[in-house]
């Protein structure tokens, strides 16, 4: 497949092509879906996949171009393109996992796929936004779709709880973010990222109005990436939501939010990093520690993965604290590896769930290795990658992050991080213990009737191994994405925290 040649369309519209495709796709799916019965919604899933592939081609076409359009509201750079590609891939994986899940649970397919596409659109907007309002718009589009998706199992109490909790706390975080944006606007007189950055180099750097705004925005993003102490919604929302949606929350939302977070903070608020990087230091340390320690005692695998997602946000924040282009590359690479590993783990969770019977407890995984050796092997692979065992994607990502953080002098934060990975080993390996070393567990129907799920699993497993064993092109791609977009503007950080 060749990326579409977008030069003909005109430069200003170029970065909008993938966004428009996804938006139109969402509407098409909704309209076509009216004619599709929910029990036969596989075709609708395939249509969604095809439309995502078109958007993917457009996003590929963006690679290598650079500029701003719509007076700076949309930015066109490799950073945006790379993130859009990862987001689209994650969305496609989630759709693959849902193709058999949606009819099995009798969910209304048209709305489901349409909402997934709309949230994907929001995530992509966060990655491409060039001013605070567009990023906020992305933030909202993404969140509203997921609020509904989390409550999609409308007869399940837990799903309702997940939706409501996520909505209430999410609305709070939105308010924080918006208020922060307002304060920053008040202080600098602009919402465009470039001019904000320019304004910061003057006497503005210590303006209390600005700093207040920065702090509130930081809280807003910390909510969405589920960093401690703004993580309270995560376990309940993850547990109650339909599992493919949980996967979407754990991967897509996190990546989208990090894209916006990185663009605003690492790059454009870089000049005042002295004011916020210590906050990130604390949040990173807390997220890793609390996430891992609480994950130790979880019995439900979705809750366990929720806390693990909190901890992984902490690892990514370690790199963000380090700042600099190497850290940026490390974050993007880590998120890529994390996306595939986590999607794979959730695919296994979906495979084990049975309608009516819960299959979410870790004890349900007992003896899986004898009943479904391939499924167990895949899960073991994902767990080991999340633990950070070489040569899997998770290890190389951690390696990259720690190396960036050490180069920035964050020795103690790295030591906290590595000690945390040992704690994490305990609960990830507990899943392997259950699968391989214990007997019992519930019987599980044949998997052969679920080709799409198997496809998703295979892709995730191959990617987890490949990104780990041959990381060079992905590392180079991640670093290039960050460097070519922001390399020139990045401040040379002289941060020396304990």
């Amino acid at each position: 497949m060749k990326p579409f040649n977008l030069a003909a369309i005109g430069f200003a519209w170029l970065p909008l092509c993938p966004l428009i495709t996804v938006a139109v796709a969402a509407i098409i799916v909704l309209l076509v879906g009216v004619r599709v019965r929910d029990e036969e919604s596989e075709g609708l899933g395939a249509l969604t996949l095809a439309l995502l592939a078109v958007a993917f081609m457009f996003a590929l076409g963006m690679l290598g171009h650079r500029g701003i359009s719509f007076a700076g509201a949309i930015s066109l750079d490799n950073f945006a393109a790379f993130f859009e590609l990862v987001i689209l891939l994650s969305a496609a994986m989630v759709v693959l996992m849902s193709i058999e899940y949606v009819p099995a649970l009798g969910l209304s397919a048209a709305e489901y796929y349409s909402l997934i596409l709309f949230s994907t659109l929001g995530m992509m907007l966060m990655a491409t936004g060039g001013d605070l309002i567009v990023i906020f718009l992305g933030f909202e589009v993404m969140s509203i779709g997921v609020y509904v998706l989390a409550g999609f199992l409308r007869r399940s109490c837990k799903s309702n709880e997940a939706s409501l909790k996520y909505f209430l706390l999410g609305a709070f975080s939105t308010a924080f973010l918006l208020y922060g944006i307002a304060l920053v606007y008040g202080a600098t007189g602009t919402i465009k990222l470039g001019p904000i950055r320019a304004a910061l180099s003057g006497p503005m750097a210590n303006n209390p109005l600005l700093l207040g705004g920065v702090g509130l925005m930081l809280i807003g993003f910390a909510f969405k990436i589920a960093a401690v102490p703004f993580h309270m919604w995560t376990p309940d929302a993850y547990e109650g939501a339909p599992t493919p949606v949980t996967a979407f929350m754990a991967v897509g939302i996190k990546i989208g939010a990090f894209a916006g977070f990185m663009r605003i903070f690492m790059v454009h608020l870089g000049p005042v990093s002295i004011h916020w990087s210590w906050v990130l230091w604390v949040i990173a340390a807390l997220s890793m520690t609390v996430g891992n320690l609480v994950a130790l005692v979880q019995r439900n695998i979705k809750r366990m993965l929720a806390y693990s997602a909190i901890a992984h946000a902490g690892y990514v924040l370690v790199a963000m604290t380090a700042a600099g282009s190497q850290a940026g590359g490390a974050m993007i690479y880590y998120l890529l590896g994390y996306a595939f590993t986590n999607l794979g783990a959730f695919a296994v969770v979906i495979a084990l769930e049975r309608h009516g019977v819960e299959g979410d407890l870790i004890t349900d995984y007992r003896g899986l290795a004898t009943r479904h050796p391939v499924l167990a092997a895949a899960m073991a692979l994902f767990m080991l990658s999340l633990t950070g065992i070489p040569p899997l994607a998770g290890f190389v990502g951690k390696f990259y992050i720690f190396s960036a953080a050490l180069n920035a002098g964050l020795v103690w934060l790295v030591i906290i991080a590595v000690l945390n990975s040992v704690v994490a080993a305990y609960y990830y390996i507990a899943v392997i213990v259950a699968m391989y070393m214990q007997e019992g567990g519930a019987e599980l129907g044949s998997l052969n009737t679920r080709p799409a799920l198997i496809a998703a699993l295979t892709v995730a497993a191959i990617a987890t191994v490949l990104i780990g064993i041959y990381p060079e092109p992905y590392m180079a791609g991640a670093l290039h994405a960050f460097n070519s977009a922001f390399g020139a503007t990045l401040p040379r950080m002289a941060l020396r925290l304990p």
Partner: protein, 518 residues
């Protein structure tokens, strides 16, 4: 000089592991796994023959770019330090597989063979890696199959043992990762080149406190693996609960990874700190020797006894390494091989008797000599080798270690000698209770002696014990040049310390401060 021998050696077992997964009946699984493990053995013997004993550097070197922007290369090489350990690894894996095919592994043989072969790749890779990143990858990689071996095919409290094993070793090794990254970062700052290549990192100049921290990072990882007292507590559990083949590899090769790490990485990278830390490590080694021996003496379980004897024997190895002179280090490497062979053989023998009686309690036995004389005779031979009887392999290693350590720290040797005496004591005492006297338990009347497969597994080990005890020269001449090259770095560091104008250690520093005050 292009050659792919080392790549083949390292990754053929992994390919073999995948091939084994395709087998669908038990017989063909064992046959395939055994044959596949003989190929690396053959390669390693071929390399042993082709090895040039006069060349102290890496041989059969292969180096390619792997992750260029991090200066990570695929760099394999073999020198006198790793040569025999590689052969030991391939030999023990083959023997364990042959032995395990005889009924020791009752269920899921396919996965068992898979994990054994993956383990072989991990072990060989760690021994052959010259790039620190690669070394770390293999170092962690070997944990996982061993963890499965203990957890799935182990006895009794296998899950607890497996957990303890993996958490202890991970905790150590993850700190080593930080140390590696920091070392590379410092090298990058000084030279402007990022490289994880070991020889390139020798050139880094470190302040004393940097070097101390980094040395600690490496040393803890290796000390957990050795295991040194007082972080040895995972070992008795892991050894005891592991299946026989697991114990053989764990004791025979995996523990050596710790001591190998000291010789290959910790000491040559930070020679000045190694010199400074000598008293500490020698003390811990001696404590380990005596503690291991004394605890072994009171074990009611035969396998646990052998496990604690490992703590004691590895103490000797550490003593030899930190003698930091040619005899000591040569002896330590020799003793690493000896321990691999003797303790591997002991674990096999314990496994054989366990298979017959399903117990390892010493009190359950007695008078076995009358009933199963071949077993008893082989056991006697192996035990004498483990004790260090002159003429067998154990003696050569221990003697060299004592010689080396005596020149460095006499008092350590004085205490270590008691370890040898205690070693003879607990072994002979256990032997007496198991083999001699009347048969007290009726079940023991019906035991069968060793079959041909079991005898066949023991013969190569016994032959090696004799050969290495009587004619150590061919081994030592190959080990020596590489050890001398490594110790040359220590010597330079020593010379620099001696001539340094500033106080070399903390004691001198405080002394100076005090005089200044006065």
């Amino acid at each position: 000089m292009e050659s792919y021998w080392l790549t083949g050696l390292t990754f053929l077992p992994l390919l073999g592991a995948l091939f084994v997964l395709l087998q669908n009946d038990e017989r063909s699984t064992w046959r395939a796994a055994t044959v596949l493990s003989l190929i690396p053995l053959a390669i390693s013997i071929y390399l042993l023959i082709r090895f040039d004993p006069h060349n102290p550097g890496y041989q059969f070197v292969e180096q390619y770019q792997w992750i260029p922007q991090f200066g990570i290369s695929y760099h394999l090489g073999m020198d006198g330090i790793s040569l025999f350990l590689v052969v030991l690894t391939t030999l023990l894996i083959s023997l364990s597989l042959i032995y395990s095919g005889g009924g020791d592994i009752g269920y899921r043989p396919r996965e068992f063979c898979f994990f054994m072969l993956v383990l072989e790749t991990g072990l060989l890779g760690a021994l052959l890696a010259v790039d620190l990143f690669m070394f770390y990858v293999f170092w962690e990689l070997m944990l996982i199959p061993m963890y499965f071996l203990i957890g799935i095919w182990g006895h009794g409290r296998r899950i607890y043992a497996a957990f303890k094993f993996i958490l202890f070793t991970m905790l150590g090794s993850i700190l080593m990762l930080v140390a590696i990254l920091y070392l590379v970062h410092l090298a990058h700052l000084q030279t402007g080149v990022i490289s994880f290549d070991l020889p390139a990192l020798y050139a880094v100049r470190l302040t004393t406190s940097q070097a101390r921290w980094l040395f600690a990072g490496f040393a803890i990882a290796f000390a957990v693996k050795v295991p040194m007292w007082p972080i040895h507590t995972w070992l008795p559990d892991a050894h005891t609960e592991a299946p026989t083949a697991g114990s053989v590899i764990l004791a025979g090769v995996m523990l050596k990874m710790g001591t190998y790490g000291f010789i290959r990485f910790a000491i040559p990278l930070f020679p000045a700190i190694a010199i400074e830390a000598t008293p500490l490590f020698m003390t811990l080694a001696v404590i380990g020797i005596l503690y291991g021996a004394m605890v072994a003496m009171v074990q009611p379980d035969l396998k646990r006894l052998v496990a604690y004897s490992s703590v004691s024997h590895l103490g000797f190895v550490m003593l030899g390494i930190f003698a930091l002179d040619p005899q000591g280090v040569d002896g330590a490497i020799y003793q690493m091989l000896n321990h691999g062979i003797s303790t591997g053989a002991l674990f096999l023998l314990v496994g054989m008797i366990y298979l017959r009686r399903h117990t390892r309690e010493i009190s359950e036995f007695g008078g076995l000599w009358h009933r199963i004389p071949i077993f008893a005779a082989i056991f006697m031979f192996v035990m004498l080798s483990s004790i260090g009887l002159p003429g067998l392999n154990g003696f050569v290693g221990e003697f060299l270690i004592m010689l080396g350590a005596y020149l460095k720290l006499r008092v350590a040797v004085v205490f270590a000698v008691f370890g040898i005496v205690l070693g003879a004591l607990y072994m002979l005492y256990a032997y007496e209770r198991v083999m001699f006297g009347p048969i007290t338990k009726a079940v023991n009347e019906t035991l069968n002696d060793l079959n041909w497969r079991e005898i066949g597994v023991m013969i190569p080990l016994i032959a090696l014990m004799l050969f290495m005890g009587l004619y150590p020269r061919p081994l030592l001449t190959r080990i020596e040049p590489s050890v001398n090259a490594m110790l040359a770095r220590v010597k330079t560091a020593q010379a620099r310390l001696d001539t340094a104008p500033r106080p070399a250690n903390l004691a001198a520093l405080t002394l100076k401060v005090r005089t200044d005050r006065r």
